[in-house]
Amino acid sequence: MVKVLYFARLREAFGRSEEQVQLPQPVTDVASLTQWLRGRGGVWESELAPGKTVRVAVNQAMADGGSALHDGDEVAFFPPVTGG
């Protein structure tokens, strides 16, 4: 299981701020998790479409598609940041 968090526009679009996800067999990194979430269709497919700029953090550190995922990880999806 990994804990998946969503922030800002993604949180609103997906109608949830977090969920527990049982990683299916082929999901071993951020890219494959993103691909798997996209497979839910609808807003998942549109918000996570390859052309969209989405940032991902794994265990509170910025990550990229190649970042490996392990049981117990916290993965966060969010738009480019706009604080300050």
């Binding site: 922030f7 953090a57 550190a61 738009p79 480019p80 706009t82 604080g83 300050g84």
Partner: protein, 151 residues
């Protein structure tokens, strides 16, 4: 090094006084205050909400400050960023750097702001006459961060 994320407002004068107290080697304090503007992209803004990623925010800010401390000779830094609901003219962020000389203080302060704008997990949502909207990241912020070179 002090990093705070809070809903309450902050007192710039008091914070700067605290930052420089007790170290008579400090010759320079550069600081920055970000404020909510009442207009954005031509739309009147009546309210702003700042969301963040609580588990990551402090860590991200501390990493940015540590990076600045590695690049310039600085004695101390302060970063305060507010979250929650804000209105026009409200203070959003304070970054202050204490150093022996002004060049280091200015560079480190601007660097921290540029990195904060592109790496710290905060998101702004504006309430305008045309409805609520998430603020879009600016291309210019990415460029500002890139000019420091980097990892």
């Amino acid at each position: 090094m002090t990093v705070r994320v809070q809903t309450e407002d902050f007192d710039v004068g008091g914070e700067l006084a605290r930052l420089r107290s007790g170290n008579p080697k400090i010759g320079a304090i550069a600081s920055f205050v970000g404020l909510v503007r009442d207009v954005a992209d031509g739309q009147a803004v009546s309210e702003m909400t700042l969301e963040h990623y609580p588990g990551m925010t402090r860590k991200a800010l501390e990493e940015i400050v540590a990076e600045a401390a590695g690049r310039w000779d600085i004695y101390d830094t302060l970063v305060i960023h507010r979250v929650g609901g804000l209105g026009p003219t409200d203070q959003i962020v304070l970054v202050a750097v204490a150093s022996a000389h002004r060049g280091d203080a200015f560079s480190a302060c601007e660097f921290i702001m540029d990195y904060l704008k592109t790496r710290a997990p905060f998101w702004k949502k504006e309430q305008t006459a045309a409805g609520a909207r998430w603020v879009e990241a600016r291309e210019s912020d990415a460029h500002a961060a890139q000019r420091w070179g980097g990892r």
